[in-house]
């Protein structure tokens, strides 16, 4: 509840970005195999140079259902068993950015606002008057505009980049919680079973207590 209020407050602060992003207060995560696959693709192009996911292994993508050949193209020399670590070393990153780009395995869970926040952040870059980039959602960020959305004025281009950001966030959402689908499916079965069992227990209870003389 507090997260929703905080996020709404952030949105309500008002900023000169286009209206459709602001309204996306509830990001619809699409964790279908296709969306995640597009997300990994976009991630590899735009993010993998600096960010890694040390807790996600290439074999996890294979187990999820992504084509092994696609994965082979993404992992290059790394084995299927290895983690999706970034291409830049910590030292080199410190030199270039003054900060080590955070690992993204849990980023959706590690930020207030979750997927909505990360998505808004990615598309929240804008050009300042002196030609630098700023970010509406995390002004102190040292991360450059990876999707180059700040210079995209053409609506079709913006929409395309927003789609990329959407896919990346969908991938990151899956990465932070790969068992979510399984959890929810099992959940439906367990709750259904428990409702049945509780109804039975209730009837036995009524039965047993009916034996009592008033």
């Amino acid at each position: 509840m507090n997260k929703m209020i905080a996020l709404f407050a952030l949105f309500a602060c008002g900023f000169p970005a286009s209206a459709d992003e602001i309204k996306l207060s509830k990001f619809q995560i699409d964790t279908s195999v296709l969306a995640v696959e597009r997300g990994v693709d976009a991630f590899m192009n735009a993010c993998h140079g600096c960010h890694g996911l040390k807790y996600v292994h290439y074999r996890d993508l294979a187990n999820f259902g992504i084509d092994k050949d696609k994965i082979a193209a993404w992992r290059g020399d790394s084995t299927l068993d290895s983690a999706m670590s970034s291409l830049i070393s910590d030292e080199a990153a410190m030199q270039s950015f003054g900060i080590v780009p955070p690992d993204l395995s849990m980023i959706i869970r590690a930020r207030e606002g979750g997927a909505s926040y990360v998505y808004s952040y990615l598309i929240g870059y804008y050009l300042t008057t002196d030609g630098k980039t700023g970010n509406h959602f995390f002004p102190l960020t040292k991360m450059p505009d990876a999707l180059d959305i700040s210079s995209a004025t053409d609506p079709a281009k913006r929409s395309d980049l927003q789609g990329k950001a959407h896919d990346i966030v969908s991938f990151l959402a899956w990465a932070a919680d790969p068992h979510e689908a399984e959890r929810k499916t099992l959940g439906y079965y367990v709750i259904a079973y428990l409702i049945l069992l509780t109804i039975l227990l209730y009837n036995v209870k009524l039965d047993v207590w009916s034996k009592l003389k008033a």
């Binding site: 869970r109 590690a110 068992h179 099992l186 959940g187 509780t198 209730y202």
Partner: protein, 411 residues
């Protein structure tokens, strides 16, 4: 054949007599409401936590360099590891919810009164053990909130007179919370639940000595007691079914509602998160701690806010049994207290502003005042209620209790 085996055992072990005495022949008041289910639920959640904790311990690594990774390993690679972890984290919250309701029932119905003082005090001991267990358990994931929460709370022991600094270092095993702290907290977190089980046994022995109280406050006649089994065994199982639905709804669909986002970031001794906040079940006490501007004062106030419950049998000077049942002023105090705790919880959660600090201080005063005015209010209310008139059964009970007291003091 089974009866022969049972006879063989009975010769050597009080199996049948135990079952008869404590279950099938154990008299329980017939009018217990569903508020009496929560003791059983607490015992069930205890077993759940021990089971899930044990299986998690097979994969968890209590080392600062491996702890966070081992949790990821559990969540991602261990078969059903994610389920064990969510059951354990939700279970901790469920445990406190059940215990708080259990305590509220006891306070409302005055079940802490003689002869049930020891039940209340063993319960108090159980609450302290549970709080310690939960606090230590929270360090184990070694996230940002784990680390900094442990840093803040272990720091509080600096309030110990004369040896405060040494105590803090001794607790931590190091000058700051670190690997030594983590490993020993794991060892203790594994141990404490078994101490809790022992204390629960003592709690139950006490219960079976004085027998359950009941909503009317009056000890029911023999004919109005019914055997615990099958009446209350089935009622407890039914209540368990309802509880499990709620519990598993959280486990499967909202497990993150009890997991702080900041704890998904590995502990960083160099960076404190903007907003350190304990788990919800500690929030009211945390608010009281922060309400007192002085460090030692805050610690003392927080400690007192937990321990003051123990004084209830002495603070409540009413002779009328049944707690809030026949006493409207006591009932009002009870509701004010509950509301006050919720306000304190909110104050403990939000970042402190001058407004929330002020609210917190008022709420803290109200918290302690409800206890401190009780001796006077209860006596005054008694006077008023006797004048107004009470049910004859109550008057009879009070009269017989006076007799008992007089007889005992004369011996």
């Amino acid at each position: 054949m089974p009866s022969r085996i049972i006879k063989w055992i009975d010769h050597r072990f009080p199996l049948t007599s135990f079952i008869k005495h404590e279950l099938t022949g154990y008299p329980t008041p017939r009018n217990l409401s569903y508020w009496w289910n929560f003791g059983f639920l607490a015992g069930f959640v205890l077993m759940l936590q021990v089971a899930t904790g044990l299986f998690l311990a097979m994969h968890y690594k209590p080392d600062a360099s491996m702890a966070f990774d081992s949790i990821q390993h559990i969540m991602r690679d261990v078969n059903y590891g994610w389920l064990l972890r969510y059951m354990h984290s939700t279970g901790a919250s469920a445990f406190f919810l059940v215990i708080y309701i259990h305590m509220a029932r006891t306070l409302y119905y005055g079940s802490y009164r003689a002869p049930r003082e020891l039940m209340w005090w063993t319960g108090q001991g159980l609450l302290l053990l549970l709080m310690a267990t939960a606090f230590m358990g929270y360090l184990l994931p070694w996230g940002q909130m784990s680390f900094w929460g442990a840093t803040v709370i272990t720091n509080l022991f600096r309030a110990t007179p004369f040896i405060g600094d040494e105590v803090v270092v001794w607790l931590r095993g190091d000058y700051a919370v670190g690997d030594d702290t983590l490993t020993r907290f794991f060892a203790l977190h594994y141990l404490f639940p078994f101490l809790i089980i022992g204390a629960v046994v003592v709690h139950l022995v006490a219960l079976h000595t004085v027998r359950s109280s009941n909503p009317s406050g009056i000890d029911l006649a023999d004919k109005d007691n019914i055997p615990f089994h099958p009446y209350y065994t089935i009622k407890d199982f039914y209540g368990l079914g309802v509880f499990l639905i709620v519990y598993f709804l959280v486990v499967f669909f909202f497990p993150h509602s009890v997991l702080e986002p900041a704890n998904n970031i590995p502990a960083n001794p160099m960076v404190t998160p903007d907003h350190i906040v304990p788990e919800w079940y500690f929030l009211p006490f945390y608010a009281i701690l922060r309400s007192v501007p002085n460090m030692v004062g805050g610690v003392v106030a927080m400690g007192l806010s937990v321990m003051i419950f123990a004084f209830m049998p002495f603070l409540d000077r009413s002779r009328i049994p049944g707690g809030a049942h026949y006493r409207p002023v006591f009932r009002l105090l009870f509701y004010i207290f509950i509301l006050d705790i919720l306000v304190l919880g909110y104050v403990g959660y939000v970042p402190p502003t001058s407004q929330t600090i002020a609210i917190g201080q008022v709420a803290t005063i109200i918290y302690f005042m409800t206890f401190l005015i009780l001796p006077f209010v209860s006596k005054a209310e008694d006077k008023w209620l006797f004048k107004r008139g009470l049910p004859p059964k109550i008057l009879a009970l009070i009269a017989s209790e006076e007799e008992e007291k007089r007889k005992r003091s004369m011996r």
